[in-house]
């Protein structure tokens, strides 16, 4: 039987919990916030710091739109409590370009037309950056497997794979040269 959420549950949801002092290091800058303990890292970024580049697709770990880097590793910001991200180095899409110079993967997303509506794009790019640095961008099959945590409802996958391949090639040529 499908019923409604009971009033008791709905009411408890509205009750306040004592705010926590949380200090978050994002794109190299320290931010001091006072947050409800229930705040996810994604909500802290979007609602409190107005860094709206990271998107909320599902809020349940299933789509990858909220992907950010934590201590250099890709994670889903919707599955992290902000208070538990204290002390970690967080990088979002806003911190990827160097001034006006786009990150090679941002440039190759434009070059390859790797998006349609753009909703999944910042998550794809953050996951793609990690995919390349982990060494998992060696072949289209590898890229598909290691990018499987990022869904694209517009189905831009072929172009996303091509963009990551291009950027991976730029990386390896700059490393060799």
């Amino acid at each position: 039987m499908r019923g409604a959420i009971s009033p008791a549950v709905a009411q408890a949801a509205g009750a306040a919990t004592a705010p926590l002092d949380v200090s978050l290091r994002i794109n190299g800058t320290e931010h001091r916030l006072s947050l409800d303990p229930r705040t996810t890292l994604l909500d802290a970024l979007r609602e409190h710091l107005h860094l709206t580049g990271s998107k909320k697709g599902c809020g349940l770990g299933q789509c990858g739109a909220c992907t950010v880097l934590m201590d250099g590793m890709r994670v889903k910001a919707c599955l992290s409590l902000a208070a538990l991200a204290q002390g970690r180095e967080i990088k979002t899409i806003e911190g990827l370009a160097q001034g006006d110079e786009l990150h090679p993967l941002q440039a190759s997303f434009i070059e390859r037309d790797a998006f349609q509506c753009g909703y999944c794009t910042s998550g794809q790019i953050m996951a793609g950056v990690a995919c390349i640095s982990e060494g998992h961008a060696g072949s289209p099959q590898d890229i598909r497997e290691w990018m499987s945590g990022n869904l694209c409802r517009c189905g831009a996958y072929d172009h996303i794979v091509a963009a990551i391949q291009d950027a991976a090639a730029v990386y390896s040529s700059t490393q060799e040269g």
Binding site: R38, V75, L84, S148, G149
Partner: protein, 332 residues
């Protein structure tokens, strides 16, 4: 989310003192490790603890291989264990099961302890809009029995709950005779992984044998599980980033074209990670001929009960065992 007080204890003994209890839906205090399952359940009001105790930074995350075998701390992440050179070389079944789980992002966040204690993916359990779920609300009934039960278990079920234990890792570990090390305020103990989870029987809301406050501190795999020919076969609805419909973890020792001993466990079909001693016995001393494998695998169906939509799993799991043994046996 239901409002909770977040505790960030400085050390393990402080963490234990809160009396948190995982795997029990009526527990008012719960642990959070990587958070990848817990945050979802909090978001959906499936879990409503008043107090959430973070295990971040208080548990061991080391991975060691020595004469006793493999030992990894409960805080080691899925990504770390999957990529560990010694695990890849000596216990590839574990690495394979992990790399076939979740997504790269989740594997960077999720811990070993949390993986073993993740809750079922039964859609009725995870949606409080459904009233009937004995696991979530004891005594309320089971919506899956007469509902959509394609994803549900055929082994170890009861008339009160047919939910699958969803961990891939646990299936590989149970095949390799792993144990979990537990610590509570009363001291340490070690429990075989096969005994960590309870069968649902008429108390599906009690999922593990953990006492209040107890945590998993480490997981151990005996040395005699190293170096076996093995394969983790995962059958799912899409090629990647999906839970198993059926999975088979197989590790065999061969002598020429014959199997000397076999270890077989199934995922996606059991209410807990499911080891199959009867199939293992039947496989011992058989050849790798498909007909021989097929008759041994048929024993997996003993006691299996379908509920309609999931009837196909009874046949599929036997085929999965045969395929996994064939692949393991073909490895040079």
């Amino acid at each position: 989310m239901h409002p909770f007080v977040l505790e960030r204890p400085r050390d393990l003994s402080a963490a234990l003192s809160f009396g948190a209890q995982p795997g029990r839906n009526d527990a008012p205090v719960e642990y959070i490790a990587g958070g990848t399952d817990m945050v979802q359940l909090l978001q959906e009001y499936v879990r409503r603890p008043d107090r959430l105790v973070s295990l971040a930074g208080v548990l061991d995350d080391g991975i060691e291989i020595g004469p006793q075998g493999l030992r990894f701390g409960a805080a080691a992440t899925m990504a770390e264990v999957a990529a560990h050179q010694g695990v890849v070389e000596q216990f590839p079944l574990i690495s394979q099961a992990l790399l076939n789980s979740a997504s790269p992002q989740v594997r960077n966040q999720a811990t070993m302890g949390g993986n073993l204690l993740q809750r079922t993916r039964c859609p009725y359990f995870r949606d409080v809009g459904y009233e009937a779920c004995n696991k979530r609300a004891p005594g309320s009934g089971c919506a899956a029995l007469e509902g959509e039960n394609r994803w549900h278990a055929v082994l170890g079920t009861s008339d009160d709950c047919i939910a699958v234990h969803p961990s891939d890792l646990a299936v590989a570990l149970v095949a390799l005779d792993a144990s979990v090390e537990l610590r509570g305020t009363g001291g340490d103990r070690s429990v075989p992984l096969s005994e960590l989870h309870r069968l649902p029987r008429d108390t599906p809301h009690l999922e593990t044998v953990l006492a209040p406050g107890e945590v998993i501190t480490a997981i151990t795999v005996p040395a005699n599980a190293a170096g076996l020919r093995s394969h983790y076969l995962k059958l799912r609805d899409r090629a990647s980033f999906e839970f198993a419909v059926v999975s088979a973890a197989v590790a065999i020792e061969t002598a020429g074209a014959r199997i000397r001993q076999a270890r077989v466990a199934l995922g996606g079909v059991g209410t807990k990670p499911w080891r199959l001693p009867n199939v293992e016995q039947a496989l011992a001393d058989r050849s790798l001929e498909p007909g021989e494998l097929r008759s041994a695998a048929a024993l997996a169906a003993e006691g299996a009960q379908g509920r309609g939509h999931n009837d196909f799993k009874i046949e599929l799991m036997q085929r999965a065992i045969v395929r996994a043994v064939e692949i393991a046996g073909a490895h040079a």
